[in-house]
Amino acid sequence: MRKFTEIASARRTWAWPYVLFLVLFVVLPLLLIFYYAFTTPEGDFTIYNFIKFFHTSEAVNTLIYSMAIAFITTVICLLLGYPAAYIMAMAEFKTPQVMALLFILPMWINFLLRTIATVELFNMFGLPLGEGALLFGMCYDYLPFMIYPIYNTLQKMDRSLIEAAQDLGANKVSVFTKVVLPLSIPGIYSGIVMVFMPTVSTFAIAELLTHNKITLFGSLIQRSFGEGGIAMWNYGAALSLIMLIIIAATSFFDQENDRDAQKGGLL
């Protein structure tokens, strides 16, 4: 009996369900991607899938295009999100939480529903779907992910630092450029990563908002698995691996700032 309680209370025991989950749904799929990426449909080892990607200009261009779209989305989100976060964090009114909630509220609704609603909105106003609609949709969907970490960093910032800067002769502009902005960089990094990572791999938004006219890298992967049949799985796996490396690279870029991020960033 004593032995059973010992086993039951050990932290190790409680970790098992999670280990099982991770193995089944994270490690195994990753290994499968690796396996498929480096094999032919017959199961022989090959790096042909990667060679095929680099020799298909359409695929490479799609990747570059996806990254460009993600980059532009991130920049727009930053330009719109920073002032919003700043206003909310610095506002003296008593319930900035209400405003923060209003910005976060759209996140409670599934992004597919929101995207479909955006399509309807464009149709209602007779606006053409396409690149513009795509950027609009992406910014609309991911803006909260930019605002929140920046707001978080600004909000936690010690207000006496602003007073200290004023006390030392800094006017409003200098207070912002010399103190507030440098101190909010961890939040900005978190925001960039949180917007860039999902936008570079998205495909549903592009499909809905461009009527499949614009293909993003995510769509390419999805099509390899969806329409290409089992023969295309290997190629799709290789594409997935490439995207994984890109995302890993961006989060590595964030890890560099991990020390700063601990001071207030979200990631």
Partner: protein, 495 residues
């Protein structure tokens, strides 16, 4: 003439959104080179006053002059003052050098000058060699030094210090006090120092400003403040004290403890109720067993005779209740047969249970006007016979009180401090409020109750309450007395 003062604060009021006054008619003049400490408990308005001088807060009315120039509406970055903040407020993204150089860079000084000045400031703050350190790798004391260096490098006319040592441990605090005093001497600039630590205020300053409830209670040198407190608040806040209720019989004669004492105070009204303050170290004590025929006779090896002054002093007796060794002296609590309690400090130990005699020299008896007599006075209005309205509530009174008045008449309502009843549960009272200030008056407590509407009610009680306790307040109808407004004090004082 105004040029003599570097800072002049004239009738400054600061009212917050909730209508409460953080500063209530504060006036203060500071001479060039002075070390002035603003001392008071938390919430007394001392930090607000400092922030108004620094420019972070704007006074609701009144004006603030720096070097004779009105700066009331000048933003902080254009004032010739620098602040050392309570929690240092060092820029975490800059190293020590850049923190200190911040102000000079804002002034767009040449790189060479900046380096020279920063080095000099760091030297003055004993921080040589720390230039490249990140501020969050420094200890509390070092961070405080950086904050001081960052302020003095700008060569301000006035250095404002907002409880700069409160985050440090005791030992470090003492060292920093000495360093600050030294720094003040070296720089020769004006220091305005805010603290709630009375010892710090007395050690450091040329002058101390004691504040409470948004008002200045007393301004004076540390010795003045300690030896001649102007009211109960100051006496109680600065150091330990025995505060007793008394009555001035005539000039140089005061009655308390049901005895007459000689004192040195003059100019009080005949029979004016007063507060008597006796510092614990000013009471002379001796073992009653060693007393013969009214004369104090010590044993041969005791120095009692030398210690206790001879002459015709009024004496009283009591029993030692507790005796604690405090390092240099003993601190004793002594109870008298008639129910008074005294705190006494003496170099000699008297064990609990010892019956002792006590006396105090006339010059050590400090007499103060009572802030108020023993009545609460409220403005009220007669509603109908037997009903009067004051303190935002309707109260029952005896019919004979309202007989001389008509409904709607304005009246003055007197309620003796003794007759205000406090209830444990706020719902039980007609009003609810919070215990705001407690004074022990030898044999009873004198409480200030702040009602939820913000009015103060004074209460004498034998019950023990804590600061911040929520209480219900009731007054029995027979204890509410009405008078025509503007009449003089009630003659008969309730006991």
């Amino acid at each position: 003439m105004t040029n003599d003062f570097i800072i002049e604060v004239n009738h400054v009021f600061k009212q917050f959104e909730d209508g409460k006054y953080a500063l209530n008619d504060v006036s203060l003049q500071v001479k060039k080179g002075e070390f002035v400490t603003i001392l008071g408990p938390s919430g007394c308005g001392k930090t607000t006053l400092l922030r108004c001088i620094a420019g972070f807060q704007v006074a609701s009315s009144g004006d603030i002059l720096l070097k004779g120039e009105d700066v009331t509406a000048v933003p902080p970055y254009r004032r010739p003052v620098n602040t050392v903040f309570q929690k240092y407020a060092l820029f975490p993204h800059l190293n020590v050098f850049d923190n200190v150089a911040f102000g000079l860079k804002m002034k767009k000084m040449e790189e060479e000058t900046i380096v020279r000045k920063v080095k000099a400031a760091l030297k003055m703050a004993n921080l040589m060699g720390y230039e490249d350190r990140e501020v969050d790798t420094l200890s509390g004391g070092q961070q405080q030094r950086v904050a001081i260096a960052r302020a003095i490098v700008n060569e301000p006319e006035v250095l404002l210090l907002d409880e700069p040592l409160s985050a440090l441990d005791l030992k470090m605090r003492h060292d920093m006090q000495i360093e600050l005093k030294e720094l003040h001497k070296q720089l020769g600039i004006t220091f305005i120092y805010v603290t709630h630590d009375q010892e710090e205020a007395l050690t450091l300053s040329d002058r101390v400003v004691v504040m409470s409830e948004g008002k200045i209670q007393q301004i004076g040198t540390p010795t003045d403040i300690y030896n001649e407190p102007q009211n109960c608040f100051v006496a109680d806040f600065i150091g330990e004290s025995n505060i007793l209720s008394g009555r001035m019989i005539k000039d140089r004669k005061v009655m308390f403890l049901d005895r007459e004492f000689d004192c040195i105070d003059e100019g009080f009204d005949k029979d004016e109720p007063v507060d008597v303050v006796i510092r614990p170290e000013d009471i002379y004590i001796w073992d009653k067993a060693q007393e013969k025929r009214g004369q104090i006779v010590g044993q041969e090896d005791d120095d009692v005779e030398d210690r206790v002054p001879k002459g015709k002093f009024t004496k009283w007796y009591g029993t030692v209740d507790t005796c604690i060794f405090k390092g240099v002296h003993y601190e004793m609590r002594v109870l008298t047969p008639d129910g008074y309690e005294f705190l006494i400090q003496d170099y000699h130990e008297y064990k609990p249970g010892t019956e002792i005699g006590m006396l105090v020299k006339p010059e050590d008896i400090q007499i103060m006007h009572k802030d108020h007599y023993i009545y609460n006075r409220f403005a009220g209005e007669v509603v109908k016979p037997g009903k009067v309205r004051f303190l935002d509530a309707e109260w029952d009174v005896t019919e004979e009180e309202t007989t001389p008045f008509n409904a709607g008449d304005e009246v003055e309502v007197d309620v003796a401090f003794r007759e205000v009843e406090l209830m444990d549960y706020e719902e039980e009272g007609k009003l609810s409020g919070e215990v705001h200030f407690i004074l022990y008056k030898g044999n009873h407590y004198h409480l200030t109750i702040r009602t939820d509407a913000g009015d103060d009610i004074y209460v004498y009680t034998n019950d023990v309450w804590d600061d911040g306790d929520r209480v219900g307040i009731t007054i029995a109808p027979e204890h509410i007395h009405l008078r025509k407004p503007g009449l003089s004090e009630p003659n008969e004082l309730l006991k």
